[in-house]
Symmetry: C2
Subunit: 172 residues, 2 copies
DNA sequence: GGAAATTGTTGTCATGAGCAACAATATCGG
DNA sequence: CCGATATTGTTGCTCATGACAACAATTTCC
């Protein structure tokens, strides 16, 4: 193993490399390496950072079609289940009905989804993808698959699948 | 294994049980069970849901001392490393300097942290916990430990540790 | 038939991420 | 040593998201 050099040169753009900052903080800290303390024992902390990192990549990946994770999840669920109501979708995704209303407002304004009157319940809407919505979803799926591949590659496919299974029916 | 009864009675409060909603949606869906579609292959989706669930429990657990996850992480890092600057803390936690400024404003207003002038750099602040801050952090740690125990129990201790290790050095 | 619940909707508030700009200060390169 | 360039803390904005409360219309329960 080649030891990383302790010489911290400022990059061409002058950005302070992470190693330099940690080293400086360690020095100030009387020799003990600067770290996260008890935080390193908290799963929630790492879940958060991982989730943010994954979402950032997802957003970057689908930026060309301007679809964010929440929008993607709505399109997927509507596209995978016929005649769902808004309450159904909100419940499936674990989000508030109020939040879904606003998501659908925007998707509908973009011509991707439709709210049809339910034939059996006049309070309710039957949700549907427009042809444009189906088209967009198709492209979204392709991009999302690329994103997921990157993730699987980064974690190792076995690890990747294991984490999905571990989290699948997680609910505190 | 006792099969769950397919009879969906409305609860005393009238709330529609999850099983009933899924069953109804399934019926509308021509027999295929209503589900999350391709979403079930996306780690990010489950990471998100798990993270939200864990944070909700954390917030509930520390509600008595009014400390939220972000505030907790700042207190921990300051308490674990002497003489960190704001840029150091922001970098360690992976948050924006601007965000940390506002977090510290509130913690300082509550008398939990201090910004001392750095003796070596007049742009910079040396961050410190006040005695009150140390006290609050101590109680926060106790409560957070209880939260983490619940989590470990829910996942199984082995699973729990494995997930932390898997996520520890994750960065897309 | 009346009480109670559900559905979609609107409004409001708080948290959080991300970006841009700024003055003060420090560092780099020649 | 000096000027160019970076960093530091800060402020101001915008946007996404979560959480709650209230509401009218409608449905369901008893």
């Amino acid at each position: 193993m080649a030891e990383r050099s302790p010489v911290h040169k400022r990059g061409p753009n002058g950005a302070l490399p992470a190693g330099a900052r940690v080293a400086a903080a360690t020095r100030r800290n009387g020799g003990r390496p600067a770290g996260l303390g008890v935080l390193e024992g908290h799963l929630g902390y790492y879940l958060r950072r991982a989730q943010v990192s994954v979402f950032q990549d997802f957003i970057r990946t689908l930026a060309s079609i301007d679809i964010r994770p929440a929008q993607y999840s709505v399109l997927i669920v509507i596209g995978s289940n016929a005649k769902l109501s808004q309450a159904d979708v909100a419940h499936l995704l674990g989000i508030e009905r109020a939040r879904l209303v606003r998501l659908l407002d925007r998707l509908e304004k973009r011509g991707l989804t439709q709210r049809l009157p339910s034939p059996t319940d006049r309070r309710s809407h039957v949700l549907k993808l427009t042809p444009a919505g189906q088209q967009t979803l198709k492209r979204a799926k392709a991009l999302a698959a690329a994103h997921e591949s990157r993730l699987a590659e980064r974690l190792g496919p076995a690890h990747h699948r294991m984490m999905i299974e571990a989290l699948r029916d997680f609910e505190l």
